[in-house]
């Protein structure tokens, strides 16, 4: 029971961070801060959601899988962020369409 409530709260917290990241993506003025908002907040949000699901999941393999998902998403999003940032840095005149 207490685990369920905790898990729901954690998922809600994760959703809140996703929302924040998206608002940041839409509202921030330049590419770097948009990237920053997106990756930071989304990774955190995903972390919270994974944590919430870990509390709700019954078996060990599922918990390991969830952890792996989080890790892979971290690697993926941070390197994507790095590549985009690198690209913007090296082609400064390139504004988006």
């Amino acid at each position: 029971m207490i685990f369920d409530i905790l898990s729901i709260l954690l998922c809600l917290a994760g959703a809140f961070f996703f929302l924040g990241g998206t608002v940041g993506l839409l509202r921030f003025p330049d590419n770097y801060s948009r990237l920053h908002a997106l990756t930071k907040a989304d990774n955190l949000g995903l972390g919270f959601i994974v944590l919430g699901l870990v509390l709700a999941s019954p078996t060990m393999p599922e918990i390991i899988k969830l952890g792996l998902i989080w890790l892979l998403a971290l690697v993926g999003s941070s390197s994507a962020c790095y590549f985009i940032g690198n690209y913007i840095y090296h082609t400064p005149s390139q504004e988006e369409e």
Binding site: V75, S79, Y82, F83, N86, E97
Partner: protein, 323 residues
């Protein structure tokens, strides 16, 4: 609640499709199309079809996205943004068509079981344990065989358009920064592993030759993006063998049945047969998809010269005067 989620997914699918059509920039349209693919795979996860969700995420959003972005980069016309649309009034007949089809959808009885019962009965005899894989490789193996043929034909068509013998493409510069190299060195083994896992899983759970092949193909494309010739490094004969292997094993399966005087594609119900075909199919799918992604590039300089010469001496039929 579930209904709300379905409506949300459905509505955003239509909205994104509308935006894809109306977006002023081509880049926007392509990025939106990738989003569309991801949402579509969400819809399929909602509809209890994890296989399709996996395949769509990998192909519709991943590989098609790479292909489209790559083409967009190659055909970009600087300083000339022209949407060049016409026939916007055609929207009306299209919506009319949608209305008509929707009217007939209302008459569908959604409780029809389709072939699910027949498949269940067939599962008693086949050696595979997962119905989707059984349908793909056993019950309707002929479709899968010809689908490998379509893939092969696409590669052949690519070579024909490019006038190349193999898919060797000009090398991209290797990433200068360490993060890129590091990423590839950890991602590639992971990709191999995940692909193998999906392939192994396919016999009894969601997964299988196609999903595995797509994941491996992603590895091949990644390798090429990292400045490696990828499949181009293989000797041509080996590459050719890889591309037809799955197709050829299916052929063998079909032909051996004839020797035993049974209808085509009948095989002894031993898992080894099917698994051999499945693994070869996964390999061929990976090779063909990678070839499709990297083989569309312009040829190297040396080849290009010979290409020009090719065209000049060309077929004899090219003596036709171009009007």
């Amino acid at each position: 609640m579930a209904l709300f989620l379905d409506i949300l997914v459905a509505f955003s699918l239509v909205a994104i499709a509308w935006r894809i059509m109306r977006a002023p920039g081509h880049f926007q349209a392509v990025v939106l199309f990738i989003t569309f693919g991801l949402l579509l795979s969400l819809a399929w996860a909602r509809l209890n079809s994890p296989d399709i969700a996996l395949a769509e995420a990998a192909v519709g959003a991943g590989l098609a996205g790479v292909l489209l972005l790559d083409t967009l980069r190659a055909v970009a016309q600087p300083g000339k943004v022209k949407t060049g649309a016409h026939f916007s009034w055609l929207l009306l007949p299209c919506l009319l068509l949608a209305g008509l089809l929707t009217l007939s959808i209302i008459h569908i009885q959604p409780d029809s079981q389709g072939l699910a019962r027949a498949v269940e009965a067939g599962m008693q005899t086949t050696s595979l344990e997962y119905p989707v894989t059984a349908v793909l490789l056993d019950f309707r193996g002929y479709d899968t065989w010809l689908e490998l043929g379509v893939l092969l034909a696409a590669v052949l068509g690519l070579l024909c358009v490019r006038r190349k013998k193999s898919i060797r493409a000009p090398l991209l510069p290797a990433p200068a920064e360490p993060v890129g190299r590091w990423l590839i060195s950890i991602l590639l083994p992971l990709i191999l592993l995940v692909g193998g896992f999906l392939l192994w899983l396919g016999a009894f759970a969601p997964g299988g030759a196609f999903q595995a092949g797509v994941v491996w193909a992603a590895g091949g494309v990644l390798l090429w993006q990292a400045g490696h010739p990828s499949l181009g490094a293989l000797p041509v004969s080996l590459w050719r063998t890889g591309a037809v292997l799955g197709f050829a094993l299916f052929w063998l399966l079909a032909a051996t049945a004839l020797i035993r005087n049974e209808p085509m594609l009948t095989h002894p119900q031993a898992k080894a047969w099917i698994l051999a075909v499945e693994y070869a199919a996964a390999l061929s799918i990976a090779v063909c998809l990678t070839s499709l992604a990297i083989g569309g590039q312009k040829s190297e300089d040396r080849n290009q010269k010979s290409e020009v010469r090719d065209q000049r001496s060309g077929d004899r039929c090219q003596i036709t005067n171009n009007r």
